[in-house]
């Protein structure tokens, strides 16, 4: 696998050459500091772009075009990267070797059309299309609670810190949706093209020179952009005494979500010992939480932990019976405290390292993960894969324990199921 980065002024072009895949993926990313009431607008926009264009006025026309390019696909999505909001528009298309000459170049034209030639009428996005997307978004916002596991996570973060970007609902907000019209959406679109930081990534069995030329000629963007806002959220001290909030809903299972704060972590600790700590606690296939809360005590079907290192928090989630809330929380507490006290072994550490190595190796088998990895290198200055493997392998047990001491539970949230069992 070879990687080349070119600064083309308005954007950086990242090219990764690998013979492993018959597909070529092109990802165009736009990002800017996140503003809460722009999230819904941005979701609508990225959805609109991949539904119709100036040339393909109906979703069906656009779908047929994609199919004609030998089942090419274009998708879009928004994510938060710490203090930033990011939009990806991704094209996946078979290499010309498996289709016909010129198919890739045509697919790039198609991608360009989707981004730069949208379905505009009278200085605004197509009203008809906008209504369709708004209705759909409204429905999904209304049905948010149906995914009770996801909803419990949203509630946990809001209860921990409702003003922090970490608790912003990336699905958007009803009140913002109501404000969106075809005109202000178009203005926002123009603003993104003008101000957002932009990257283009290409991965596949490509020729560097040809591909660069192709992209240069098709994506002749001429704006100069800059942003100084940092990606990591500011640290927040955990509450002295953890808060416990229980809400109820008509589900049969209760969803437990626990938020812990990370304070005083160095960049090294965040990227290395913390990763291993989490694999040992609840991230790995055979974590302490899985083994002791699920397998030994039969309290749940799923239980896991995830660090959000840009937000300085760690989240633990489980689906349990409501009568077991206290018991489960105290078992989780116990596992966290045991690691703090240094009750982990070299075996635990080695297992976590193996887990990480496999995750890295597997990363190289997925185009999207490779692109993500290079994107994080670009924005967060993270190490390359070789360095990550080497440094991770050198992490000492004492370093993991030191990180464990910087983790403290802040909020325990439970969305309690009050539905009586059917049988």
């Amino acid at each position: 696998m070879e990687y080349i980065k070119k600064d083309l002024g308005s954007y950086k072009l990242h090219m990764i050459k690998t013979k492993k895949f018959k597909t070529i993926r092109v990802k165009v990313s736009f990002r800017r500091p996140i503003v809460k009431n722009e999230i819904t607008m941005r979701n609508i926009l990225s959805d609109m772009l991949v539904q119709t264009t100036n040339k393909y006025k109906t979703k069906r026309d656009l779908a047929i075009k994609a199919q004609d390019l030998y089942a090419a696909s274009i998708s879009s999505g928004n994510t938060r990267i710490g203090n930033y909001i990011n939009t990806d528009i991704i094209l996946a298309v078979l290499n010309d070797k498996y289709t016909e000459d010129g198919n890739f170049s045509n697919a790039i034209d198609f991608l360009h059309e989707v981004i730069y030639d949208p379905n505009i009428e009278n200085e605004g996005f197509s009203e008809e299309q906008l209504n369709i997307i708004k209705t759909r978004t409204k429905t999904s916002l209304e049905s948010l609670k149906e995914d009770s596991s996801f909803y419990s996570l949203i509630r946990l973060l809001e209860i921990m810190d409702k003003d922090s970007p970490m608790s912003y609902r990336m699905v958007g907000y009803q009140e913002d949706l109501d404000q969106i019209n075809s005109k202000n959406l178009y203005q926002y679109y123009l603003d993104i093209l003008k101000k957002d930081l932009m990257e283009i990534f290409i991965i596949g069995d490509i020729d560097f020179t040809e591909t660069e030329e192709l992209i240069r000629s098709k994506f002749a963007v001429k704006t100069f952009k800059k942003s100084r806002k940092k990606y990591y959220l500011d640290e927040v001290k955990p509450r002295k005494r953890k808060q416990v909030v229980i809400e109820s809903d008509a589900n049969s299972q209760s969803k437990l979500a626990i938020g812990a704060r990370l304070t005083g972590l160095t960049m090294y600790e965040r990227n290395y010992p913390l990763t291993l700590y989490n694999i040992i606690l609840g991230g790995g296939e055979d974590s302490k939480l899985f083994r002791n809360v699920r397998e030994k005590k039969s309290l749940c079907y799923y239980i896991n932990s995830v660090p959000q290192k840009l937000d300085n928090i760690l989240i633990i989630r489980a689906g349990i019976d409501k009568k077991n809330i206290k018991k489960t929380v105290s078992l989780i507490d116990k596992e966290i405290n045991l690691i703090k006290k240094g009750k982990i072994t070299e075996d635990d550490l080695n297992m976590a390292k193996e887990f990480f190595v496999t995750a890295m190796d597997s990363l190289l088998e997925s185009q999207l993960s490779i692109l993500d990895h290079y994107y994080m290198m670009e924005v967060l200055n993270t190490d390359d894969i070789g360095t990550r493997l080497r440094k991770m392998n050198e992490v000492k047990l004492s370093e993991v324990v030191k990180v464990a001491k910087k983790i403290k539970i802040d909020t325990v949230y439970c969305l309690e199921g009050v539905n009586n069992e059917r049988d």
């Binding site: 209304e142 049905s143 049969s252 059917r422």
Partner: protein, 430 residues
């Protein structure tokens, strides 16, 4: 070892059958670091009545037992948890139960030999005790409750329950909480001893490994394993052609109504005898009618009639059912649109040819990933009992005349309809 070229896909596949009947399928890749292994049995939740090994009379076992058995296979007499074993080399492991099969998988990049050997070992060594069976009930009940909280899952279960009268396919794979309470250690051994025999099982491996070495390990572990039952007699349910319950409305904890439609067809009436060929024609039909580039989708989208839409074909022994799911504010209007579409089917040759092109491209795309490759071959082994090495060619040869003939034999009036509606009462606040 037999070499099979997966035509048009630049990939080879090797197969071998051991003396005891176990089928082995190997797909070595030269450019990958990872591997994916599945060890599977043709035993899923649709089998609940059969003649057990060594027995003469048929028995009926509690629902949900295939899935329960899958969970319990992770219990080992030496106390070592298979998850822990695989985790030592950073290898992932899992298992899953479907209506027709159960599989045990592991995937990783290291210690291929050791992991393959262990996967075979632990699936071959059941260890059920009264105590460990009781303990599992708590975990499985939480799993059942998790799915009961997902409206889509409730809808799907209800649709199948209403489509079929007596076929066990109408019962959820995991069973219900009260089914789970009935399961005993003895039931588990009976099912294990009957269905976990070499002739009823197969192994598929794709990715980075040496094929000779893989065969050697498999032979070492399983060559001498006795096949204790040659043909398993499974109860055949005389499922009637009619629909069990044509209409049902359920009010539940949702905001926007959801609908499910099921159209049931007896295979004998469709008159395409080759199962794979029939599946391809049915599937191209539903894709042309309801896929992302269909006129139907554009039409209901313009009318703002639905917020999501999904369809698939459901299989039981003598039937094929088209299942359609959607979320809509106007259930009755949308259902009418679907029915109108199905009552007046017209197939445009351009659409037909385009979908073929898309499918061929998708076959090429899928071979890029070891997991999807294994999953595809797995499905073929379960459905068609062999590796399909010429799928691209079969797609190319699909004939519009034959599709039109098939359509002329299909009547879309044998239908089950389920609607989930928002509940009016709000859950009590604490």
């Amino acid at each position: 070892m037999k070499e099979i070229k997966l035509k048009d896909l630049d990939q080879n596949c090797y197969t071998q059958t051991l003396k005891n009947g176990l089928n082995i399928i190997l797909i070595p890749y030269t450019d990958k670091k990872n591997y994916f292994i599945t060890y599977a049995t043709r035993y899923g939740s649709d089998i609940n009545a059969f003649v057990p090994v060594g027995g003469k009379k048929g028995i009926t076992v509690p629902n949900g037992i295939a899935h329960f058995l899958e969970h319990k296979m992770f219990e080992q007499e030496d106390g070592v948890d298979p998850f822990s074993f695989f985790a030592e080399s950073g290898t992932g492991a899992n298992a899953s139960t479907s209506n027709t099969s159960t599989q045990y998988i592991c995937y990783g990049t290291k210690e291929f030999d050791k992991n393959l050997e262990y996967l075979l070992k632990y699936v071959n060594e059941p260890y059920f005790t009264d105590e460990n069976v009781e303990k599992e009930k708590g975990i499985i009940k939480e799993e059942i409750k998790m799915y009961n909280d997902i409206p889509e899952s409730v809808l799907e279960n209800k649709l199948k329950e209403n489509l079929y009268h007596i076929d066990p396919h109408r019962i959820d794979i995991a069973g219900s909480c009260s089914d789970i309470d009935k399961i005993t250690k003895e039931d588990l051994y009976t099912c294990y001893n009957t269905f976990y025999n070499p002739k009823n099982m197969f192994i598929i491996i794709a990715g980075n490994f040496d094929k000779e070495q893989a065969i050697k390990i498999i032979k070492n572990s399983l060559d001498t394993k006795e096949n204790r039952i040659d043909r398993i007699t499974i109860k055949e349910y005389k499922e009637p052609k009619s629909i069990y319950k044509k209409e049902e409305e359920i009010s539940t904890n949702i905001k926007v109504p959801k609908i499910a439609l099921g159209y049931k067809f007896a295979k004998e009436d469709l008159k395409i005898n080759d199962e794979l060929e029939l599946d391809l024609y049915l599937s191209i039909l539903s894709t042309i009618l309801f896929g992302s580039a269909s006129l139907f989708r554009e039409n209901v989208r313009k009318k703002n009639l639905m917020t999501n839409f999904y369809f698939e074909w459901d299989n039981i022994q003598k039937y094929k059912s088209l299942l359609i799911y959607s979320e809509t504010e106007n259930p009755e209007i949308l259902i009418e649109e679907v029915q109108k579409e199905l009552d007046h089917i017209e197939i445009d040759e351009k659409d037909f040819e385009r979908i073929k092109k898309v499918w061929i491209a998708n076959e090429v795309k899928m071979i890029d990933y070891v997991e999807t490759t294994v999953n595809n071959i797995y499905d073929d082994m379960i459905r068609y009992h062999k590796v399909i090495d010429n799928k691209v060619d079969l797609i190319r040869k699909l004939d519009i005349k034959k599709l039109r003939d098939l359509i002329s034999r299909m009547k879309f009036n044998n239908r089950a309809k389920v609607i989930l509606l928002p509940k009016k009462i709000i859950a009590k606040k604490k």
